[in-house]
């Protein structure tokens, strides 16, 4: 049968039963799509509950600020009228006196005091002291009474702090995480020099992560090359040696570094025995930045080796042969022909190691000492010890943002499509 172009049917192509082909095709594929979706549903739910929701909660917690707003509503309402200069009038003092006593009865006062203390140190003791004495006070004027209890109640700063912290949503945690604070006059400025910590910790975290990534790359490149080029019999053995630490507990590996590197540890004993250092010149290699670097490099090495290996495995040896037959010295051939082809693996390995190390916790906590702690240790500190979850959440969010920015940069420069993990 021939179809004349002039009489070909116009409009959509129809299936045998007369419905448009597009519609019937979609119908036929619907079941398949549903089945595919059902297959990924458990994982989707798992990721949603264990990954997405906690992150959303963390983002929320970093700006959520309910404690003061819930416990001092009348005070805050009164303070709305206050212009922020001098001290507020008697109604504010009366309201806060009443509400602090109520809060004490509801066992909420500690939270309020702690929250205010994060912002201005000394607030906890001020509130504790004031509430204890104010309970005996039957009636006002509260303003004079409070100022009599502690003359700090006459400070404008105290009241502006309460007013500011009273907002149900706030960015103060982010300011705190960036070593900034709102000045008494309402402008945003840096913390005093001696109270700046997080900026330095963020920089140190980035620096340690960069160093670990660099060391991993330096150590992993030759090993991966050997793995990819040795005959199968030897490369299998080498692969087992690479993976063996991978299968050992993180804690075991970290603590064995303590055994090796401590002042009376194996390495120092060896150095003393050989005579490189004297008995009193034992080197401090653990509980500082060196310890963190050594242990993290060793622990993260497989994450660099495996992507590198998987890329190198695919590079045919004939490229190097071709380069040499064309007149390139072995070193030139390696640098100009082999190395550019491993760029995808280098990119993947570096990104993986960097992102893993930027949020690393256990190892720096165990061997980091003072100079080797990283931002994750401070997040943990605020989660467990100081119980300032909002600040922890803000620090975590900044860390997440930093990783996303780096990822975006990587994608811009290298292109994420060029990355090969295996």
């Amino acid at each position: 049968m021939t179809v004349d172009a002039g009489t070909a049917p116009s409009g959509p192509i129809l299936a045998a039963d007369g419905t448009p082909l597009k519609v019937s095709l979609r119908k036929a594929q619907r079941v398949r799509k549903l089945r595919a979706f059902a297959l990924v549903l458990p994982l989707l739910a798992f990721v949603l509950i264990t990954f997405i929701l906690p992150i959303v909660d963390m983002l929320f917690r970093s700006v959520d600020n309910p404690v003061v707003a819930r416990n001092l509503p009348i005070t805050l309402n009164v303070l709305k009228e206050w212009d922020g200069t001098g001290t507020p009038d008697e109604t504010a003092y009366a309201a806060i006196a009443k509400e602090l006593v109520e809060a004490r009865e509801n066992k909420e006062m500690g939270k309020v005091a702690t929250r205010l203390n994060f912002e201005t140190s000394g607030m906890r003791s001020l509130i504790g002291k004031s509430v204890r004495k104010i309970r005996r006070l039957k009636e006002g004027p509260y303003k004079e009474a409070l100022i009599k209890i502690d003359k700090r109640w006459a400070n404008t700063e105290i009241w502006s702090t309460i007013k500011r912290i009273g907002a149900p949503y706030t960015h103060v945690q982010y300011l705190a995480a960036l070593d900034m604070k709102t000045q008494p006059d309402g402008s945003v400025g840096m913390q005093p020099e001696d109270r700046q910590i997080y900026g330095q910790i963020f920089m140190r975290t980035l620096w340690i992560s960069l160093l670990v990534t660099g060391f991993c790359l330096l150590l992993a490149y030759p090993v991966s090359y050997l793995l990819a080029t040795l005959p199968l019999r030897y490369s299998n053995l080498l692969m087992v040696m690479v993976l063996l630490p991978f299968w050992t507990s993180l804690l075991v590996r970290t603590t064995s570094w303590i055994v090796l590197l401590q002042r009376n540890g194996v390495v120092n004993d060896l150095l003393v025995w050989v005579g490189i250092v004297g008995e009193d010149g034992r080197i401090q290699m653990i509980y500082n930045q060196t310890g963190t670097l050594v242990a993290m490099t060793q622990i993260l090495l497989p994450f660099m080796i495996l992507p590198l290996y998987s890329v190198m495995k695919t590079i045919s040896p004939s490229y190097m042969r071709a380069a040499r037959s064309l007149g390139a010295k072995p070193a030139t051939a390696f640098v100009r022909v082999y190395m550019p082809q491993t760029a995808a693996g280098v990119g993947a390995g570096c990104l993986l190691v960097f992102i893993l190390s930027i949020g690393y916790y256990i190892t720096p906590a165990l061997v980091g000492g003072q100079s080797g702690t990283m931002i994750s240790n401070f997040i943990a500190y605020h989660m467990k010890s100081s119980l300032n979850w909002s600040l922890a959440a803000a620090l975590g969010t900044i860390l997440l943002a930093a990783v996303l920015v780096l990822y975006w940069l990587y994608n811009k420069i290298v292109g994420i499509d060029n990355m090969k993990l295996g």
Binding site: Y319, A323, L326, G327, A328, A343
Partner: protein, 323 residues
Amino acid sequence: MLGPSGSGKTTCLMMLAGFETPTHGKVILGGNELNNVPPHKRGIGMVFQNYALFPHMTVAENLAFPLEVRGMSKADTEAKVRRALDMVELGDFGHRRPAQLSGGQQQRVALARALVFEPDLVLMDEPLGALDKNLREQMQYEIKHIHENLGMTVVYVTHDQSEALTMSDRIAVFNDGVIQQLAPPADLYERPENAFVAQFIGENNRLVGEVKSIDGDTCMVDVGGNVIRSFSVNHDGVGSRSTLSLRPERVTLNPADGVFPNVFDAKVLELIYLGDHIRCRVAVCGNDEFIVKVPNAHGQISIKRGDDVRVGWQAEDCRALDA
């Protein structure tokens, strides 16, 4: 270099290039011994089986690579790259990546890259193995023409005998790591020196028997009671076993009396019509796989399956080789 897989062709080529170390013997090029010269100083161009074009460089950068590592100036490099690209008719493709080229184009780039630094010797390791049949034949002629124009020596490895016959001045037939015969294509086909070469190059009828007597160039070989007069080439003398090699097109069906010294009775087992000729499988001298090519000339198509016929051939066409 021609031979079946695993016969040592590529190993031998790699020794020439310097990627394998010979256990003994010398590699000599233009009077210079190359055994201890590293590959990058040998100045031998090489085309690899999978082309080995550097995937992260453009075509032009690939071609410039051998010139750059030789420290050639930018202007000279550009001029040479342009000339090489024009030679393989890919003048407009310099900025492309190898992955953006078809198989045949990649093959030409690989060829141009091996030639651009004007080596005395070019090695090619089954360069056309990955191409389809038509393109392969076209490229065979192209390589042959480039070779004729430039006049360098090419050592070409292949396992395809028609490719070897098309392209070569001399062919080395490899088997089991040994060169079986080194000769021009016509000699290989017409005058194979052993049973392997006879079998490997072209179609061949084998008859195995015992040498009865030798008289100068001819000898008498007893094959299952039939004594065949053959051309004595390569056997161990009277009493030894010998393989007789006979090309199918040299056998005549139902010959006139007195023309051939060898005439035997045969039975037609199978006929295959191939247009210009008919392949005829007959049973003769105890061999059921004996092939006769009957030219499709006037009056020759009267044979039928099961017919009793006679076949005959000249003593010179029947070569007595090693068993």
